[in-house]
């Protein structure tokens, strides 16, 4: 089966996003699956972007760990990524400006494109259009459908008129024809099903789920990686009838959403970790006054401001512990993009049925990476269940009890504007009618019963939530355990393991609170060996799992460097664990190079780069060290040596050659 990963590397502003979108949509309209991930390049100077787009006939569950095609928009991208291109692949670049000056693998085609010459007929040409030449060439070489791609461009530029469309399609064609003339296709025979699929991010899927589920109020304060939701909502506000309100801070965001939820609107807000910290007090309020609201917490690298454009799953403790006291709340971690849609719908129904805050916990990868999703996943006719909502209240039945002590814990809710149902929703403790018992009159018996009433709702909600289940061979030697957005990458790791003879399966959690204790314990009992796989430094989910089930995972695979997990790396670590190899936190040689790159960029300047690297025993630093030669970029001459601690990663000393 074809599995093509295209990497596009260049600087911010090079139009990488657009090129990738053209390719992705071309594939998506032809019936292929696409999965994109945009990660900032981590070395050398300049704000470099490294975008990977993976195309398959079957669904891609992650950005993968291969590279077949490279479109290099600057020399750095060649220097760094050309060696990664696998046999049978190709490197495409603008021959007017760039050259392949580094060793590449065997059987990799270099495709120098005479961009100037090819685009001349379409002058004047904006610099970003040069990419289109490469896109055209790539389409030829990798057997994608040219007609479809020109249709994509036509749609992309439809608002700019025919001239612009013609220009773009012309350039695309020039690249395509040039490749056709000079190269033979690389043997990709695609089975195009022709089924068109939307190419969509998790944030967009959340939005579409929300508006389908009747969300009519969205409040926000911008924060990466949740801002995409605000952008979408603001753009579609009128069309979807959603009041979109940017507030002065996240305190206001949460409180205004709760106000709207209390008044009867389906209301949502979203933020990332720092903003969520500010929302926590309000979440306790929603729990106490039993107002339905949906919160989305899109995790990014922490702690604190942290690494705002990077991936992590380390806000679980915060979300779990949001606000003081015990109160019911539901926490859901969607598995993938399509699941974002379903989760949003489900969240609104749960919020109104159980009259409590529902928190969706996402992350940068899930929220921001685009992928193809089956169009059937997006449905306008989703179920809308508003729970026990009273349309009218008859005064003859006595005073309305907003917080009636029912056996289920759910008290029928009336909205402001309803006659005969006036009540005050108070964050102070209250009785069935909402009258305070918090003051000097505190009544322990009433307090006990209302606390129990509220908490009961959680047990009820648990019953309707699907329990976790083992995926993969039941008799596996090892079970990989994850939560949220890592479902796909773990699935691929499990596939790789099974393919390579290690029997593995997967246990993945979406519903974190309430938690399926019993079901989880039963499954875990059947597992021979468990490995928790998550993207944080302390194993926050493994801790939650242990708290709920007593099960301590046998091992953990933790990643907290900001880059997403990759299937082969997980599989390799699993194999090492099974072989009993201890996981080392030492700085590897390639990491030493990265550290040196950082040092160079910040302190030494552009003219130099890391060269040879050798390990040495400690000489006075208390640990072994990496000696990293720093060489001149142009000449390769050694300009000095940097010492990096193997254990600590400290950059002990920089000694220029005198």
């Amino acid at each position: 089966m074809n599995d093509l990963t295209i990497g596009i590397g260049g600087a911010a502003g090079d139009g990488i996003d657009k090129s990738s979108e053209t390719l992705a949509k071309t594939a998506a309209r032809s019936g292929l699956y696409a999965y994109g991930f945009n990660s900032y390049q981590s070395v050398i100077r300049g704000g470099h972007i490294w975008l990977r787009l993976r195309l398959r006939e079957e669904r891609a569950y992650s950005q993968g760990d291969h590279l077949q095609a490279l479109i290099a928009l600057n020399q750095d991208s060649i220097e760094r990524h050309a060696p990664e291109v696998e046999s049978g692949g190709a490197i495409l670049f603008n021959a007017d400006k760039l050259k392949v000056n580094i060793a590449i693998r065997d059987n990799v085609l270099t495709v120098p494109l005479p961009v100037g010459q090819l685009t001349k007929p379409f002058a004047p040409v904006a610099p970003v259009m040069q990419n289109t030449v490469a896109v055209g060439a790539l389409i030829f070489l990798f057997g994608l459908d040219f007609a479809v791609s020109s249709g994509v461009l036509a749609d992309t530029f439809s608002h700019k008129g025919k001239a612009v469309i013609d220009q773009n399609v012309g350039i695309l064609k020039a690249g395509y024809e040039y490749a056709k003339e000079h190269f033979v296709p690389l043997g990709y025979k695609w089975n195009f099903s022709g089924k068109r699929r939307p190419y969509v991010t998790g944030n967009e899927a959340f939005c579409m789920g929300a508006v389908a589920a009747g969300c009519r109020f969205y409040s926000a304060y911008p924060m990466t990686p949740a801002s995409g939701i605000l952008t979408w909502m603001a753009e579609h506000s009128e069309r979807c009838g959603v009041v979109v309100k940017q507030m002065e801070d996240e305190l206001a965001v949460a409180n205004v959403a709760i106000g709207a939820g209390f008044a009867g609107a389906r209301a949502m807000c979203a933020t990332s970790g720092g903003g969520f910290a500010l929302m926590t007090e309000a979440i306790g309020m929603a729990g106490m006054i039993e107002a339905p609201v949906v919160f989305i917490e899109v995790q990014r690298g922490g702690p604190s401001t942290g690494i705002p454009t990077k991936q992590e799953q380390a806000d679980l403790n915060q979300v779990y512990g949001a606000s003081q006291g015990d109160f019911p709340r539901i926490i859901i971690a969607p598995r993938d993009t399509a699941d974002c849609f379903d989760t949003a719908v489900e969240a609104f129904n749960l919020a109104e049925k159980y009259q409590c805050p529902v928190i969706i916990i996402s992350d940068l990868l899930l929220s921001e990476h685009p992928e193809t999703v089956e169009p059937e996943c997006f449905r306008a006719d989703v179920p809308i269940d508003r729970g026990a909502l009273l349309r009218e209240v008859n005064a003859k039945n006595g005073r309305y009890k907003r917080y009636e002590f029912t056996p289920s814990g759910i008290s029928p809710r009336a909205l402001p504007g309803t006659a005969n149902a006036m009540y005050v929703a108070a964050t102070d403790e209250h009785d069935e009618e909402g009258v305070l018992i918090s003051d000097v009159f505190c009544n322990p018996a009433v307090r006990r019963k209302i606390a129990e009433k509220r908490m009961k709702k959680l047990a009820l909600a648990l019953k309707e939530l699907p329990a976790p289940r083992l995926e993969g061979p039941a008799d596996a030697e090892v079970t990989l355990i994850g939560w949220g957005s890592t479902a796909g990458v773990i699935r691929e790791a499990v596939e790789q393991l099974n393919a390579s003879g290690v029997r593995a399966n997967q246990l993945h959690f979406k519903y974190l609170l309430p938690f399926h204790q019993k079901e989880a314990i039963d499954i875990l009992k059947s597992c021979k060996r468990t490995i928790g796989v998550e993207m944080n430094a302390s194993g926050q989910f493994a801790r939650l799992l242990r708290a709920e089930t007593s099960h301590a995972v046998s091992d953990k695979i933790l990643k907290y460097d900001g880059e997403p997990l990759e299937p082969a790396a997980i599989a390799a670590q699993v194999r090492a664990i099974l072989k009993g190899q201890a996981h080392s936190l030492d700085v590897s040689q390639s990491e030493a190079r990265e550290i040196a790159y950082h040092y160079v960029r910040v302190y030494l300047g552009d003219e130099v780069r890391p060269g040879n690297i050798g390990k040495a025993e400690s000489n006075g630093y208390g640990e072994p060290i990496w000696n990293v030669e720093i060489v001149n970029r142009e000449t390769g001459a050694k300009t000095g040596e940097l010492r990096v601690g193997v254990q600590t990663g400290s950059t002990y000393s920089w000694q220029p050659v005198n």
Partner: protein, 293 residues
């Protein structure tokens, strides 16, 4: 303006008796709010009173209307959400000086520049009552409180001046010792389309021994009684807002007609969002999907 149907003030009578200290200024404000709502022709089922936390913030519990007794400092934000969700409701915010001008000041200022149609009644006793007597943002300089035993080092906030500068379109001050005057202002505030602030001197008889009834009785005068005072003139209003000492003005400082936020928000033209169909039109939805292909 529609004709006003005045319900008897008893329609707003709550179940619970206030547990304020005898003599607390908030009793007068409670009366003023009920009377004001009556005069404005509001019916209890369409009224939502939103408060934060504090002695004063207990007020919604004493009125027969909808209410949210929310978090300390967050009443304005909660009220904004209620109003945006259901523009048919009359939303009145009640709370204290600490609640509104201390911990809640960000929401206060930003709500004013939004000009949401909200009425905000602040029971300004220049102290933190419920937490038994610490300095508040309106505590006078040098005043001794539990948290400033040697005298307050900070200058007080001037809520009237702040409101004027922040775009409030109705800015008034009342005194708990003049409940009828206050009720008129509250009623006018409720009827005003836009953000209305009514700062009320509401003495804390237990913890503020300085700014007492007597203190204000001696000093307050009504702007309405000043010849030629024109509440349309923001400069004059600003000038009066600075007056403090032997004479302290109460009454309507300023009023202007500006488009409200609600009237400027296109989504709300179809009516309150709580009344809209929950299901999105299929065609509209399909359009969203198509956009992504």
């Amino acid at each position: 303006m529609a004709t006003i149907v005045e319900l008897p003030v008893e329609s707003f009578e709550g179940i619970v008796d206030p547990d304020w200290c005898p003599g607390c200024g908030d009793f007068g404000v409670l009366k003023g709010v009920k009377m004001g709502a009556t005069k404005a022709g509001v019916s209890p089922k369409d009224m939502v009173i939103v408060s934060g936390i504090g002695c004063s913030s207990n007020l919604p519990g004493y009125v027969h209307a909808y209410g949210v007794h929310s978090l300390h400092g967050r009443a304005v934000a909660v009220a904004s959400g209620i109003k945006l969700a259901n523009t048919d409701l009359k939303v009145v915010i009640t709370g204290g000086d600490g609640d509104g001008y201390g911990i809640g000041i960000a929401h206060f200022i930003h709500a004013m520049r939004r000009n949401l149609d909200l009425t905000y009644v602040v029971m300004d006793n220049q102290i933190y009552g419920l937490t038994t007597g610490q300095a508040s943002p309106t505590t006078l300089k040098d005043a001794r409180t539990k948290s400033t035993p040697n005298g307050n080092v900070e200058f007080p906030i001037n809520p009237i001046a702040l409101a004027l500068v922040s775009g409030a379109t109705f800015v008034a001050r009342a005194f708990s010792g003049e409940p009828n005057h206050m009720a008129d202002l509250i009623s006018a505030g409720i009827q005003h389309k836009g953000f209305a602030l009514i700062d009320v001197f509401s003495p804390c008889v237990t913890y503020n021994k300085l700014n007492t009834y007597q203190y204000f009785k001696k000093r307050v005068y009504k702007l309405e009684d000043e010849k030629g005072y024109d509440p349309a003139n923001v400069a004059k209003a600003t000038e009066r807002s600075q007056e403090w000492g032997d004479r302290i003005p109460i009454g309507l400082f300023y009023r202007s007609e500006q488009p409200t936020y609600e009237s400027s928000e296109p989504v709300l033209r179809k009516g309150p969002i709580v009344r809209q169909n929950m299901h999105l039109d299929k065609g509209v939805f399909q359009g969203l999907v198509t956009e992504l292909m």
